[in-house]
């Protein structure tokens, strides 16, 4: 059972921009090796932060508008959103601890 949200061009505003929780968006594609490498980490983060932060996975092939809007040029790109705005961006396979610390900071600010 997955706790992450599948992001699309259509639901991006509702799921990400209008979220009251901080959101981690994983821009990925099926053909990208490092994206597959980091996928289990993203899913673990989604479970562990359920209720505190939201995790969205967005396939850039099927949702080119959102990828273009945020200037995605490398995948995996991990964007952190808070109050509808991108506040940080990481590229490549990022250690889980780094993602967790960022979400802790963002979630802490919300409290």
């Amino acid at each position: 059972m997955s706790v992450y949200v599948t992001g699309t061009d259509a639901n991006f505003e509702a799921e990400v921009l209008n979220s009251d929780q901080p959101v981690l968006v994983d821009f990925w594609a099926t053909w990208c090796g490092p994206c597959r490498t980091i996928a289990p980490t993203i899913e673990e983060i989604a479970s562990e932060y359920d209720g505190k932060a939201k995790v969205v996975k967005l396939d850039v092939d099927n949702n080119p508008q959102t990828a273009m809007k945020y200037g995605i040029r490398s995948i995996p790109s991990l964007l952190f959103f808070k109050d509808g705005k991108p506040v940080d961006q990481m590229v490549g396979v990022v250690p889980k601890r780094v993602l967790a610390e960022k979400l802790d900071t963002l979630a802490g600010q919300a409290a």
């Binding site: 053909w31 990208c32 090796g33 490092p34 490498t37 990828a67 040029r73 490398s74 995948i75 396979v93």
Partner: protein, 354 residues
């Protein structure tokens, strides 16, 4: 060895630290093969994944030269297969990156993610190599904003655009050709007047209508505020500078070994490759074995990395048996090669099969 080792972080609980017979650092073909052999030898190896789990092959597409895959295999799939095979025999995989080591005494000390202490009788370093960057400030700032070291990952974002790649080896040629599938023009920038890549790869690149080569040219800056808009180039012969408008910049200038954590402990060459004893994976420190690209600047193939990973596991197993950490090595039955003792150096020497 003029480098001083990085001191361990203070305040770690070494008395309560987990203690393993074998810790393998890194999860490319070398690390997973070492894990497979160590697990089959009942050494209960712990594998610390590192900052790029799966290693360099996860950033490739088709691997056509790994034996046993007649139709080729996708790099990420190959790495998942190697992982599954090691885990099947009991290798334990753990997230995290080894950030510090202290190899002054046995058991050796390792620190994961600066916070978790770990003790290991035998350490197998399989930390591999990473793509090199030019080292320009704006190159780093615009990483993921048009700067990339992974053409196969990011090429598709540059459809019908002007892009550039710097480098002159086989990797640069492969990536330049791959990028022609998407880009309008691929500018290949090379500091000399000839590529060092193999002739067949050069021919393919030079005959491709989408490729424009800039010989005797170096990149001195990457331009752009929020995204790459161009490069500043310098002609190395005339010193003239010019701007090249591109939206993508790919770096393919070779690799550097990921051996920073071992600096000051292990003997290395000037480029940072760990020196291993001839015909083995032994290093200058007892109980520390290094395999794969971290010690190989000559072959650097997935299959040679896997081969030296296997050697490291066997070397470690025999060394542990010598130290009485484990019982007799199972080498004779497991690998069909009899161990023999070299009394001078206390290093085992493999005998050829009778």
């Amino acid at each position: 060895m003029t480098d001083q080792p990085t001191p361990l972080p203070d305040g770690l609980d070494w008395d309560g630290a987990e203690h393993r017979a074998v810790v393998i650092v890194g999860t490319g073909p070398a690390g997973f093969t070492a894990a497979l052999y160590a697990a089959r030898a009942s050494l209960d190896p712990l594998v610390v994944q590192g900052s790029a789990p799966g290693g360099q092959l996860t950033t490739t597409t088709d691997v056509e030269n790994f034996p046993g895959y007649p139709d080729g295999v996708m790099g990420p799939d190959l790495m998942q297969d190697l992982e599954k095979q090691a885990v099947r025999f009991g290798a334990e995989l753990r997230w995290g990156t080894v950030t510090h080591v202290d190899l002054s005494e046995s058991p050796h000390k390792l620190v994961v993610d600066e916070t978790t202490p770990l003790l290991a009788d035998a350490v197998i370093g399989a930390t591999g190599a990473s793509a090199k960057y030019l080292g320009l400030e704006n190159e780093k700032r615009l990483l993921g904003r048009g700067v990339s070291a992974c053409a196969t990952c990011d090429g598709a974002f540059f459809r019908e655009e002007e892009i550039a790649i710097v480098g002159g080896g086989d990797t640069a040629m492969e990536e330049a050709l791959f990028l022609t599938r998407f880009a309008k023009t691929v500018h290949v920038i090379h500091r000399r007047d000839a590529f060092r890549a193999s002739q067949i790869m050069q021919d393919r690149v030079l005959s491709n209508g989408k490729v424009q080569v800039h010989w005797n040219t170096v990149v001195t800056d990457v331009l752009g505020e929020d995204a790459v808009t161009g490069l500043r180039l310098e002609d190395v012969e005339t010193g003239e500078t010019r701007e090249l408008p591109v939206t993508g910049f790919f770096v393919a200038i070779g690799h550097k070994p990921n051996t920073e954590i071992f600096k000051g402990w292990l003997e290395m060459d000037d480029a940072g490759y760990v020196l291993t004893h001839p015909d083995s994976t032994h290093t200058n420190v007892e109980g520390v074995f290094v395999c794969g690209d971290a010690q190989d600047h000559v072959y650097r193939q997935a299959v040679t990395a896997a081969g030296t990973g296997c050697m490291a596991a066997i070397d470690a197993e025999r060394w542990l048996a010598e130290q009485d950490v484990i019982d007799e090595p199972r080498t004779e039955t497991e690998y069909h090669a009899a161990p023999a003792e070299d009394s001078e150096t206390h290093r085992p020497v493999a005998e050829s099969e009778a």
